[in-house]
């Protein structure tokens, strides 16, 4: 693993909110063609770590490197341009635009045509086709014209995934993509992610609580606890390790969450 250059790396990445250290000196590197799952109890700092990587937050100290280049000082937009894609844990869409329009915005961004205000009809059809393709991907084809604010929660979660897919990034960051979905919707999304994994040049980061899913899907598991990276390794090994049993599974067994029961 070490001989290959890391696609994404965080070096001693740290952020403090007041006195509270939400992400504490996290150093970790990820190789292309792998899927890494990040687990940890609620408030462990998983989302905050993602925010630091994708640029929503600026670190107190430490660096983020993308293909060896330090991107710590770049804006979110610039990082997205460089191939970092992100889906959000809390649904974060364009509520009064239709589902299709939402995806189309992502497609147009990957085509880099947002600044064009005189559109050729052929280009419009092309973008629309791709947008529909990604909607069908997450089984939302029939909802194309519905404004997002009218969609049920599960569909909004799927749309969140569709937006990330439509961006066609190199690095995919999913933050609890299946949270709040019904039992029959979950496999749809997980299949999508499993299929993504087959593309060798992609890097996938996944925050997910469902342990059975995590075990079969991941190449590697990273455990965060109180903002610190406490374990990192093969799924079987990590899940069996006493640190994780105590820090993660222990606490989540104590807190009856939907994820734990699923």
């Amino acid at each position: 693993m070490a001989d290959q250059q890391a696609v994404l790396e965080t070096r001693s990445l740290t952020i403090q909110f007041g006195g509270h250290v939400a992400v504490d000196e996290v150093s970790c590197a990820f190789q292309a063609g792998t899927l890494t799952t990040i687990i940890g109890p609620n408030g462990a700092g998983k989302t905050t770590w993602f925010n630091l990587i994708s640029g929503q937050l600026t670190p107190s100290s430490g660096q983020v490197l993308l293909a060896g280049e330090d991107i710590s000082n770049l804006s979110t937009e610039a990082r997205t341009d460089k191939g970092l894609g992100r889906a959000f844990q809390l649904t974060n869409l364009f509520p009064n635009l239709s589902a299709l329009e939402n995806v189309r915005l992502a497609v147009a961004s990957s085509y880099r045509i947002g600044h064009i205000f005189w559109q050729r009809a052929s280009l419009r059809r092309d973008i629309e086709d791709r947008a529909r393709h990604y909607l069908d991907f997450v089984r939302l084809g029939h909802r194309a014209d519905t404004p997002v604010s009218y969609l049920p929660h599960g569909d909004q979660r799927k749309l969140e995934v569709a937006l990330l897919m439509a961006l066609e990034p190199h690095v995919f960051m999913f933050d609890e993509p299946t949270a709040g979905m019904s039992v029959d919707e979950v496999p749809v999304i997980l299949d999508l992610i499993a299929n993504l994994k087959k593309q060798d040049d992609k890097l996938i980061l996944l925050v997910e609580h469902k342990m059975d899913v995590v075990r079969s899907l991941s190449d590697r598991i990273v455990v965060l606890h109180h903002g610190q990276l406490v374990a990192d390794g093969e799924p079987a090994e990590i899940i069996a390790s006493p640190v994780v049993q105590e820090a993660y599974l222990g606490t989540s067994a104590g807190a009856p969450t939907e994820e734990a029961s699923a």
Binding site: S54, Q56, S75, T76, E77, T80, D81, R86, F88, N92, L93, F94, P95, N96, L97, E101, R104, L105, A106, A108, S109, S110, I113, G114, H115, I116, F117, W118, Q119, A121, I127, L163, L167
Partner: protein
Amino acid sequence: MLQSILSGDLPRSRVLSVALIAILIALALGPFLFPGTRAFATLGMICVFIIVVAAYDLMLGYTHIVSFAHTMFFGIGAYGVALGIGHFGSGFGAIFIGILGALLLSAALALLLGLLSLRVKAIFFALVTLAVAFAFLSVVTQMYHITGGEDGLRVRVPRELGPAFRPLDSVTGFDLFGFLGVLFTQPWNLVDGFRDAFFTVRFTGRTLMYYALFLFAGVIFLFLLRLVNSPFGRVLQAIRENEFRAQALGYRTVFYRTAVVILSALLTTFAGALFALFNRYVNPENTLNFELMIFILLMCVLGGMGTLYGAIIGAVVFVVAQNYLQDVLGALSEAVNVGGFVGSLIEPSHWLLWFGLLFVASVYFFPSGIVGQLRIWARRREMRQTVAEHQTESSAKERLT
């Protein structure tokens, strides 16, 4: 064909389509349908405000940028032409130079404002634009030797655009409202009414100017319709809906906001220049006043924010009310003829009070503006129809089985 002219953004309401067609006809044939100078001025102001309000809606309705500096750009255009003509004489070259200078100044000011809008919160931005607009107004008022101060400037337009130029003699028009008045009040005089409705149109350079204004308003409107339905326009709406997510999708919202503020300012500047040529007189009151800014805001909200067609409807309703609500009130107060408080309420000069009440009522009942509401109704109707069709279909199937 129509689809591509309107950039695929059809009115989507039958009532709205009919209203728009009626407005288009009224504006296109206006000088031949409505005699009198006041009707002529009303037609021209509608065209001016269609541009101004549509450009404002691009910021307010489509991007949620609240700016009170819109009249400043309007004034820059109007004064640009007035000063150009004042310096270089009544030629088209002078007009061109005036407009060019005005556009450059507006672009520079809009760039500064646009860049500012990225650094500060929306409410603070609105306040800054207000302060800038006031500062500009007081500068114009004080620089008496250049701008004419409160008195303003007379715009000596080229002969071809003035009242002395007569390209066509004895054109006949038909007084539509005069005829309709007879039709409804004295139907027995129909034949005479019909004959009397014909009048001779004074077709002058001012009429030519009106048609130039009308054409520019049409072209600019269609251009804006194309813009808001382009990828660029979609990004603006994305910024309005969720700027944070637009950035996460990789859009440099900085660029889009600045571009929109500049574009809106340029179009408004151009509208100001056309206004100066049409009205032939500019002063702070008719170009820079804060009252004018409020009117623009009213037209935008009344028509429906975020729907460009709302700019047309809003401008027509407002300008017509501004010019004719006084007549209605005058007729009313004459007919009722009561003194005291009630009488003073329906005094013609209090038209703005009544317009204000109408405005509050319309915003209360139609929060998404006239166009928004018409579209909601059309949508509901459509849904009812599909449901009904569905029901007849399924009951037919039941009968078959």
